[in-house]
């Protein structure tokens, strides 16, 4: 390859903003004290930095800094919230959990683990636009429902769930409500003073901060209790033991400060780029946008290209770094479970690409991507017997295929 591919995978991870990196470095080399050390200035300096960062994280989501617990990332936050709350409240309420089939694996797997421990779970199927209807959610509630977990922004299709609506229903039914907001910070405004949410997971590296650091919001009023999953020195008021990674925390704080100050301007710019990409790709025949476009972050575009096979599509677009609905790297033929849950056929799920745009994406990047896709889709369809049949008016779903 002549040059690095254009990065359009910001939903997988983001580069650390240079301003964030600059702020982190002194906490590796100079201010290296343990924030738990109370007996000397090394510790005091580190502790001050940690609390300033906690303040910044809280400010982005309008929470009290005392409601922010540091973790290693959103996966740990989700585990701590789901297992911690389910186990704490199971005795009072019951052992039923509601979540959604399109959640991230870091929510689905902890719920599955709780099922193995004797809980039961309902995995709601969203509508074909990716959104969970309030009626469907209400209908899933049982007298023993203890916990619900619904993500704010979906990682694959970028749709925004009605967290306020679902949260109200949870309050009325005395259900603890957890929200995975890993993909949401800096993209949608979050006001936890108003939102009826009890627990919310955050990640730094989706918002131009470093990998390996995240946070969990644990509401104080009304007070939500969770069982610790990591036991040790009793850090973070006993909810999560382990020496605080000062430099990572400082990075997350700075990243969230920048997000708070710049998100409105940035999101307007990104929306223009996304719409430019959408219009460019929509000029190709037989393309389908996956997920609702109105209730969606501007950063995400997930599109299926009909009559093109997923793995050859990924080979064709190596000039750009994107994610595919086809898990070809694992040599598995399993298409994206998120797209399957929307009712997409295997073929369309396989031939999908998630484009995710971010802070450093340019108009030239988008134009290059449109031109590349037009050329490559055209070439692969020229090769495709299915495309030929489609153009001859054959209904491919009615053909008797010899399965192999």
């Amino acid at each position: 390859m002549d040059r690095d591919p254009i990065y359009l995978d910001y939903s997988a991870t983001t580069p650390v903003d240079p301003r964030v990196a600059a702020k982190m470095i002194p906490y590796l080399t100079e201010h290296y004290g343990n924030p738990a050390s109370r007996s000397h200035p090394y510790g005091w300096t580190a502790e001050k930095a940690v609390e300033e960062a906690r303040n910044e994280v809280a400010k982005l989501v309008n929470a009290d800094p005392r409601e922010i617990v540091w973790t290693s990332g959103a996966t740990e936050s989700n585990n701590l919230a789901i297992k911690g709350a389910a186990n704490f409240y199971a005795g009072t309420k019951g052992k039923h959990i509601i979540t959604v089939a399109t959640e991230h694996k870091a929510v689905i797997d902890p719920v599955r683990e709780l099922e193995r421990q004797g809980f039961t779970a309902t995995f709601l199927e969203p509508d074909s636009d990716g959104l969970v209807s309030l009626e469907k959610f209400k209908a899933a509630i049982r007298p023993d429902t203890v916990l619900a977990s619904v993500m704010l922004v979906n990682n694959e299709i970028g749709v925004i769930q009605d967290i306020e609506g679902i949260g109200k229903i949870c309050r009325e039914n005395n259900i603890i409500f957890h929200v995975d907001a890993a993909q949401a910070t800096g993209k949608v405004h979050i006001d936890l003073e108003k939102l009826p949410v009890d627990l919310m997971s955050f990640s730094a590296h989706k918002t131009y901060g470093p990998k390996g650091i995240g946070a969990l919001f644990v509401r104080r009023k009304p007070r939500i209790r969770i069982e610790a999953q990591m036991h040790g020195g009793g850090h973070e008021r006993g909810m999560r033991s382990g020496t605080l990674a000062t430099h990572q925390i400082v990075g997350m704080g700075e990243a969230f400060r920048i997000a708070r100050e710049e998100m409105d301007v940035e999101n307007a710019r990104i929306r223009k780029l996304r719409d430019r990409l959408l219009h460019g790709l929509e000029s190709i025949e037989e393309v389908y946008v996956n997920g609702d476009l109105a209730h969606r972050v501007p950063h995400n575009l997930n599109i299926s290209f009909n009559y093109v096979e997923g793995e050859s599509l990924i080979m064709a677009v190596k000039g750009i770094a994107v994610s595919s609905g086809s898990a070809c790297t694992s040599a598995s033929l399993e298409p994206s479970y998120v797209l399957r849950a929307l009712g997409r056929s295997d073929e369309l799920a396989h031939s999908s690409i998630r484009f995710s745009i971010g802070r450093f994406t340019t108009e030239a990047d988008v134009d290059y991507t449109i031109a590349l896709l037009k050329e490559k889709i055209g070439k692969l369809r020229e090769l495709s017997p299915l495309w030929e049949m489609y153009q001859d008016g054959v209904d491919i779903s009615k053909v008797q295929w010899a399965a192999h």
């Binding site: 009559y307 093109v308 096979e309 997923g310 793995e311 050859s312 080979m315 070809c328 790297t329 040599a331 033929l333 056929s345 295997d346 073929e347 396989h350 020229e382 090769l383 495709s384 017997p385 299915l386 495309w387 030929e388 491919i396 295929w401 010899a402 399965a403 192999h404």
Partner: protein
């Protein structure tokens, strides 16, 4: 997925892409695979009165290895008799393209496509006779 240079060459520059006239009595068509499985191959061969394959064309919906397997066999088929074509084994295709184990099914599909095309031309000839 690491592809061999030969697979990449056939993927980037596929040989003999296209279709022949399926109503021509000298043209045999083999269509194998299924969209839900991720591969569909269509192979067409044109056979002269001496039983020699004069032309071969393909279209493939599938991964790089499937495209390369079908592209390769169109090269191999030209100039062979239909009996020689029928004798082509998937292992020869897999070896030539250095296919990894998870992609052997692509070579199997290419062999199936040849057999289906030969069967079609034989059926046409039998109907003619």
């Amino acid at each position: 997925m690491a592809y061999s240079d030969k697979v990449l060459d056939h993927y980037e520059n596929p040989r003999n892409v296209g279709s022949l006239d399926k109503n021509d009595p000298n043209v045999g068509t083999g269509m194998v695979g299924a969209p839900a499985c991720g591969d569909v191959m269509k192979l067409m061969i044109k056979v002269n009165d001496a039983g020699i394959i004069e032309d071969a064309k393909f279209k493939t919906y599938g991964c790089g290895s499937a495209i390369a397997s079908s592209s390769l066999v169109t090269e191999w088929l030209k100039g062979r008799t239909i009996e020689e074509a029928y004798a082509i084994k998937n292992s020869e295709i897999a070896e030539e393209l250095a296919l990894p184990p998870v992609k052997i099914h692509c070579s199997v599909l290419a062999e199936d496509a040849i057999k289906a095309a030969v069967a079609d031309i034989k059926a046409k000839q039998a109907a003619k006779a």
